[in-house]
């Protein structure tokens, strides 16, 4: 038997379970309506769950991007201080973050797709709820005719099928969120543990070395200024010296 027929059988088996309690066709109309409302609530909750998962991924991507930008800036600072070794290290660490960022972007796209699908499912169910609310009363009023009984059966199985479909969509979104949340949890732990932040934190080893280079050159410049003052017998300006300070003649100890 073909896949499409088998899929149809699965959907019917799911929906029969939903409605096999109702004996009276009139009751089955009310029961269907109740189930439809519950179904709509479930889909809406699922939309909220997916949106939360999406925001979490966005937050992580923002944090990772900030760290990548910081490493980029450190590489620039290192180069301006002639520390190509440090610049190289910063860029290497930045490159190591790229696959994680790409992974987050893929996850984000998947969650956004699920969100969009569930929003459409919720809209369709809402239309069904609105239409069925009046239709079921009309059907009840005309129920005495055998023809109406058949129509009720058909409408109820049509409604059930939509609910089965919506239920499967919700389950699917939930499965995706569950698997992503395991990964998001691992990423949160990485971000919190410092395994990633150590690479890009302002007080990391690259920054510490850059600060040291900068401090050394300030001391050198001030020392040179003092030497010049003693030599020339005039007061020298202390403070952050300019690289082109007159006393910076290379006599200072390295």
């Amino acid at each position: 038997m073909g896949v499409m027929k088998r899929m149809s059988g699965i959907l019917q088996a799911k929906t029969n379970k939903l409605l096999d309690k109702a004996e009276d066709p009139r009751e089955s109309l009310d029961l269907s309506y109740q189930k439809l409302l519950e179904n709509l609530q479930k889909v809406r909750r699922s939309v909220a769950d997916v949106t939360t998962a999406k925001k979490r991924i966005e937050l992580q991507a923002t944090q990772l991007q900030a760290q990548a930008d910081k490493l980029q800036q450190q590489a620039k600072d290192a180069l301006s201080q002639n520390r190509e070794d440090l610049a190289r290290e910063a860029l290497a660490r930045r490159a190591a973050l790229a696959p994680q960022l790409a992974d987050l972007q893929t996850q984000h796209q998947q969650v956004a797709d699920q969100e969009q699908k569930l929003i459409v499912t919720a809209q369709n169910l809402q239309s069904q709820v609105d239409a069925f609310r009046t239709k079921k009363e009309t059907m009840k009023a005309t129920y005495t005719a055998a023809e109406a009984q058949t129509k009720i059966g058909e409408a109820v199985s049509g409604i059930s099928e939509s609910m089965g479909d919506a239920g499967m969509s919700v389950q699917r979104a939930q499965d995706k969120i569950d698997s992503m949340q395991a990964r998001a949890g691992a990423m949160d732990e990485l971000l919190a543990s410092g395994a990633l932040t150590d690479l890009a934190n302002p007080v990391d080893d690259i920054q510490a070395q850059l600060d040291k280079v900068s401090a050394t050159s300030t001391v050198d410049n001030e020392l040179a200024a003092l030497k010049a003052e003693i030599g020339a017998g005039t007061p020298a300006q202390l403070g952050p010296a300019e690289p082109e300070a007159p006393a910076d003649s290379g006599e200072a100890p390295a």
Binding site: G2, V3, G9, I10, Q12, N124
Partner: protein, 92 residues
């Protein structure tokens, strides 16, 4: 003939196009049975395209059951195989 695409909605496909849909369904079935991921993805896309092209989408409030059901448009082979193991999906 009413065809449902899971997660999307129902389409009324004219009798004239029934054979086309069924043939594409056979290709999809062969891909599932042959555990061929590539063939599954391409045949599912072709089937969904044909249903959308030949069918008229039913309003969500039409309350009709479907004759055939097509997997989610972004379904994977593994996911579809797992689904077919569920009650109602047995091969008969």
């Amino acid at each position: 003939m009413i065809v449902r695409i899971l997660g999307e909605g129902q389409f009324d496909v004219p009798d004239a196009d029934r054979a086309t849909i069924e043939e594409l369904g056979d290709v999809l079935t062969a891909a599932v049975d042959g555990h061929d991921e590539g063939a599954f993805t391409s045949s599912l896309a072709a089937l969904i395209d044909a249903v959308r092209r030949t069918g008229t989408e039913l309003a969500p409030d039409s309350f009709t059951s479907s004759d055939l059901v097509v997997p989610f448009s972004d379904a994977t082979l593994a996911e579809t195989q797992a689904l077919l193991e569920e009650p109602g999906g047995e091969r008969t």
